[in-house]
Symmetry: C2
Subunit: 247 residues, 2 copies
């Protein structure tokens, strides 16, 4: 096996681009130097530069005009939110973080989203939240997967209403990353337990929306925290989650 | 310009790998099918598979045994924390999020880290925190860049002491992403203002360490929040940051 710490030629080129971006020298819309020039400057092959460009394209950092593959005509792109969400989900899936740890981060981010949503939501966001609320109610009778999707959509809608794109992106990524494990746990419940749980969750969702729409940040914050933590206890039987609740 | 929404052949292959990971069908250490097989199965060229593999390697999702470039011998890798941090930093740099938004997310994550650090830190973490504290004090006399680095290292040490890897990874990524803008603002201060600010920040750091080491989660949480928000007001002159403080 090769040493994973030793940078390959294409990594040298990729890092060069990343460093320029982090230093603020390359901004969205700026073009890269021509492939030949960049290769000469970095002392790597043109193939290595091409590979770096492809890899950064895949990550949403660069986009190419026609004639993809050449560095010339390649521009820095505003990495779409979806790219971050995708990578964070994969990271959470691979890193195999304890689910309790993921839940703690989720609580921190969703409390922020709920607070900001209560402070800043507009009329459209209020309508969206009520729509998602209704959808989660309807979905409960259509089974575990439908409810899980609708529940995720509800939490995403709160993050969207927060008007803080970074908070929304990270909240969405974390909620999406627990979609699989949550579904597994929903499936572990018998029909009666599942019905009881969805009724509780939907009632709590309604209370959260009420606090958000009423412009009550502290209330929305506390309700979201209690909602995520009690659902966690009911789904896992672990009451660890309550340990930091008073803080 | 090509349509950025239309997936290219290598994206088809990359998405296939990602979907298997998210579904839990590919786990860390699992090998990919041979390049030829995967290409045939997905109806793309072997070159496209190779490109997808390289791109996922660059993201830390895959690693190759000798003979890099072929899908056979390529294994799923535990995406290192550094990879997430790097991508999150680039995302924050490119997305050009309002700094107030970044600050809000930072407060949410660092409050969590401080709370968990107070609950869970071991003796080694307590020593590390005190070391970072001393280093930030020393660094203040060595100028803006040295202090900025030492300040970042202090906040990273709290995240590390939290014993929640996901919280630490995201906290670190956010703190790192504001390293440039923070430095710029430190540079905007005259020497006296800079000295006064570093004295305040170092005193606040010491209070935070005291609360963490004393095992006081609520105290550590509140001190970190006040610390980040008041520094923000002093560095930017914006008092928006205080708006959600009471929540």
């Amino acid at each position: 096996m090769t040493d994973p710490a030793a940078p390959r030629a294409y990594e040298v080129a990729a890092r060069w681009v990343e460093e320029r971006i982090l230093a603020g020298e390359l901004r969205v819309g700026d073009g890269l130097p021509a492939e030949r020039e960049l290769a000469a400057q970095l002392g790597v092959s043109r193939a290595a530069v091409r590979e770096a460009v492809r890899s950064l394209q895949a990550q949403g950092v660069l986009r190419s005009s026609v004639g993809a593959g050449s560095a010339g005509g390649t521009k820095v792109s505003a990495m779409p939110s979806g790219a971050l969400t995708r990578l964070l989900r994969i990271h959470v899936a691979l890193a195999n973080f304890p689910l309790t740890d993921v839940m703690e981060v989720r609580v921190a981010l969703e409390r922020l989203s709920a607070r900001l949503a209560a402070e800043r939501h507009g009329p459209q966001a209020a309508r969206d939240l009520k729509d998602r609320l209704g959808e989660a109610r309807d979905a409960a009778s259509r089974g575990r997967e439908a409810f899980n999707d609708a529940d995720a959509a509800f939490h995403v809608a709160i993050a969207e209403a927060a008007g803080n794109r970074l908070a929304a992106d990270t909240t969405i990524a974390i909620r999406e990353s627990v979609r699989g494990p949550m579904l597994e746990r929903f499936r572990g419940l018998d029909d009666e337990a599942f019905r009881g749980l969805t009724e509780d969750l939907n009632r709590e969702h309604a209370q959260i929306v009420e606090a958000v729409v009423a412009g009550d940040p502290a209330g929305a914050d506390a309700l979201v925290e209690a909602h995520i933590r009690t659902a966690w206890v009911r789904l896992t039987g672990e009451d660890d989650a309550a340990a930091t609740m008073e803080a």
